[in-house]
Amino acid sequence: MYKIFEILSITITFYLFLFVIWTIFIVPIELSRDSLALGSLLFLPHAARVLPVVYFGPWALLGIIVAEYLCWYYIWPFDIFDRTGMGVLISSSAIAVTWGFFKLLDAELKPFGNLQNTNWKHLVIFIIFSALFNGLGNGAYYPTFGDSEAAPLISIRFVMGDIIGALVVIFFLAIFRKLTKDLT
């Protein structure tokens, strides 16, 4: 029980942190070009969906759902890009579906598995799969049921934003790890 609580707190904190960083530094730049309504091209919080599930397992999914609702309903400060509850659910489901496929198809990311969570290349494969599921799901949902403007290329923008955002975060984490490894 304590372990689950720990996983949930770390996941929610990590998501909140990346969401705030994205809202403060990336969103204003994209807002100035009116392109955000079709999906961000550098969606940093995607890393906070992928990494906890890869390293902590499926319990992190619960934390992701809670964090997404908190962020999009209570922290998101802009009027544009109305994020509906179903969109949040689709994003979380995309991670769950990806994790399920990797587990059931004998390719779960583990320290000593066929695909390893210590190998950044394998991590990138997981990110690509999750971004594609998220892009396809949300790309179909928003033009059909959402309030935002329909765009045929919304799926591609979602996929690109998720992949680039997650890679940037991983890159920064790697640099952070390298710089701080002597401090411990």
Binding site: L104, A107, K121, H122, V124, G135, A140
Partner: protein
Amino acid sequence: MKFLFRDSIVASLFYFTTFFFWVTFIVPLEQDFLQTSGSLLFLPAAGRILPVLFFGIKTMPALFLSSLIAWNFFWPYDLYEARNIGLLISFLAILIAWGIFKFLDAEISFDSKLKLSNWRHLVLFILLCSLLNGLLDGAYYSTDVNIINPFISLRFFVGDVTGTIFILVFCMLIVSAFDIKRN
């Protein structure tokens, strides 16, 4: 060179077989919604994905040529105008998926971690090919051909996955049947 020629011919024949099976048995059942949405059991997806897995990326030119011939000369209906750019995108999706697996240290072969002899690993590759094809072709058809259907990407993805797995199961049954006969 000899193997390239042989593999290319086998791959092309495999593509034509899946194409004709699809046109003969599946398309007549799906005619009402095929124009705007894409097939939900697209067997030729197996014709282009499985040969790349088993014979290698070198069969891609032959497969692309086969698909051009099949769609431009053997497609018997007026509906669902297949654009050559759409075909090119489909093959690009396979090329990208193959590149992702190869360069991200997850190549599928008989002696690597992800094995050609493990059907689960094959399905993983099929999923990636179908996701990329759904995403790219869905975006292309929505913008260029002016088919406005937000679900087209999802339907392309589902059609490719079900079609490829259907053919994979069919091939496994045939192989099993021959084994039983031989024993």
